[in-house]
């Protein structure tokens, strides 16, 4: 029997682009395009099985070995620091993690800075390196609302084009780190399926040169 490689793909637009890369690399799986209620899709001949999961869960599936490889945003990898191999920068879904605030914001260093974010660890790490005293406000969505309503002074969030910020009189203030999608692998899987995972990595690496 052929060794099957389990691939966790992030649901959504990014995941579709990622699947297109896998398809182009020769790991196609026609059933994935059919509109069905199935959860896993496999092409036994190519030895590959795909499944869609919530983007923030990809790293968990891979770290725990339910998926051998997967594609996750660098933001998720930085936030949860899963114990996985980061094999490739796919150059997809490029954006940046940034501090943003009202366009007229000036940092009053006499006060504790209130930071609203989904990415608690990234924000804490960033400000602790600057030795800035902050108050973290963990939100799960609509982060941009926080400075507008005075819930926080600034936000730490993903900025793609900056349009949403602009429309709300907000502006990116500092870039923390550039973000893009990464090919990750479970460490133990890599040991036992080295040849298969390497082959996928290399076939996809050929395409990332075009992306970057």
């Amino acid at each position: 029997m052929k060794t099957m490689i389990n691939v966790a793909l992030p649901k959504g637009r990014l995941g579709e682009k990622v699947y297109a890369m896998f398809e182009k690399a020769g790991y196609d799986c026609s059933s994935i395009k059919e509109n069905s209620r199935k959860l896993t899709f496999e092409n036994e001949e190519k030895g590959i099985r795909y499944f869609w999961v919530k983007p923030s869960d990809v790293a968990i599936y891979v770290e725990r070995g339910a998926a051998d490889i997967g594609v996750a945003g660098k933001d998720i990898l930085l936030e949860y620091s899963p114990d996985v191999y980061e094999l490739l920068d796919l150059g997809l879904g490029k954006c940046r993690m940034a501090v943003a605030g009202k366009t007229d914001f000036t940092d009053d260093t006499e006060k504790t800075l209130r930071v609203a974010t989904k990415f608690v660890n990234i924000a804490m790490d960033y400000y602790s390196k600057k030795s800035r005293d902050i108050d973290i406000i963990k939100l799960n969505g609509s982060i941009e609302l926080a400075p507008i309503l005075g819930l926080s002074d600034v936000i730490v969030d993903i900025v793609e084009t900056g349009t949403t910020l602009k429309e709300n009189n907000l502006a990116p203030l500092e870039t923390i780190v550039p973000i893009s999608a990464r090919l990750i692998s479970n460490k133990a899987s890599f040991k036992f399926k080295t040849a298969e995972i390497e082959a996928i990595k290399n076939a996809i690496a050929l395409q990332t040169e075009v992306n970057s």
Binding site: R64, G65, Y85, E86, S185, K187, A188, S189, F192, T194
Partner: protein, 368 residues
């Protein structure tokens, strides 16, 4: 004593197998108390795998439930004579997922004293045999922190950059190493080589030899080479890879480090190395090498869902004669079935349901 081998769990089997393996090579069991003064861990915080330690005060002294065994063994070791010990202890660590404390059964060994090539080879061999005792499908990855440290020192003396690179090396993340080196204006050639080479010892060593290495690096490479030939001569090299992504803390590890994986378990089950620098930090002159096996991981190995909780459920009522009942139960257990005697049917899965009718048993239900 005879018993049914099926009742022994993976981790229990491993404990017995490993104990006899280590004793065979003259290692003595080291039994210790569950507590240690907290100070020991506070001073060597980075050596611990997880951050949290359970503490309590005992007569004004801050004590801790052991999160680690090695530190205690080293603390009590004497300089001079070679000491070989193994242990089988519970340690208390914060589990990554739930952020709560877990009790983890750990077994391992330490070889402390004037460590020579033979000692290194013996410990690595025992690591391989430990994995073999658990499963035939395993991989041991070996790396060398001295070599990595020299390569890093050659390109930079910025410690924070070094740590960032080591982290990336551990992730096989060359794209980020390249970016780090580019922004620092240093060459990433040798780093690219150590990130990308892995596999059989012969291949890795041959590739490294082609690179432009300093005398210090070559000396480290020679250590890997002698270990590699030892493993080959003893027929132990089949499941061994050289892989520099096994990167450990340079503050403690100075030389050979290794990690073991077993097919079917998502994390490493064995981890060890030569940690002479820890002893130097603790004011001792000796060197040491050792490893730990995480037995709690074995729970998930070769999982077979249990079909029945018990083979036979035996019903009896108040009128039953105790002696006769016991005799019938004995007859059943003697033929190898497990028997649960109850008055009312509990909510469990059973293979067959029997009723004790005063003289013998009658079958009420058979699910097999």
């Amino acid at each position: 004593m005879t018993f049914n081998k099926d009742v022994i769990k993976n981790d229990e089997k491993a404990i017995f197998a490993l104990r006899s393996l280590y004793q065979k090579y003259g290692y003595k069991q080291y039994k210790m108390s569950k507590f240690e003064e907290y100070d020991l861990y506070a001073r060597n915080k980075d050596f611990l795998v997880s951050d949290g330690v359970i503490t309590f005060t005992d007569g004004g002294k801050l004590m801790a439930l052991k999160p680690d065994v090695t530190l205690s063994i080293i603390k009590n070791s004497q300089d001079g004579a070679l000491t070989k010990v193994y242990y089988n202890e519970n340690v208390y660590r914060v589990s990554k997922g739930s952020h709560s404390f877990k009790e983890i059964m750990q077994t391992g060994l330490e070889c402390i004293g004037d460590i020579d090539t033979y000692n290194i080879c013996e410990v690595v061999m025992l690591a391989i045999e430990s994995l073999m005792a658990i499963s035939s499908d395993f991989v041991l990855d070996i790396s060398h922190m001295g070599l990595i440290s020299d390569i890093l020192s050659e390109v930079t003396d910025d410690n924070s950059l070094k740590n960032k690179i080591i982290k990336c090396l551990g992730e096989k993340n060359f794209h980020e190493i390249k970016a780090l080196c580019q922004s620092a204006g240093i060459s990433s050639d040798t780093l690219e080589l150590v990130t990308s080479v892995y596999g059989k010892g012969d291949e890795v060593i041959a590739k490294l030899k082609e690179a432009d290495l300093s005398d210090g690096m070559l000396a480290h490479l020679a250590e890997l080479e002698s270990l590699n030939s030892f493993l080959k001569e003893n027929g132990l090299s089949d499941n061994v890879n050289f892989d520099f992504s096994i990167a450990c803390d340079m503050k403690y590890y100075s030389s050979i480090v290794f990690k073991g994986y077993i097919k079917g378990i998502a994390e490493s089950v064995l981890s060890g190395g030569q940690y002479g620098k820890l002893l130097t930090r603790m004011g001792k002159k000796s060197d040491a090498i050792g490893f730990a096996v995480y037995l709690d991981m074995l729970e998930r190995l070769n999982e077979q869902s249990k079909k029945y909780d018990v083979d036979t459920l035996l019903l009896y009522d108040d009128s039953a004669d105790t002696a006769a009942l016991a005799k019938n139960i004995k007859l059943l257990t003697d033929i190898g079935t497990s028997v649960l005697a109850v008055k009312q049917i509990p909510d469990i899965k059973y293979k067959q349901l029997l009723k004790f009718n005063g003289k013998g048993v009658e079958i009420l239900e058979n699910n097999d």
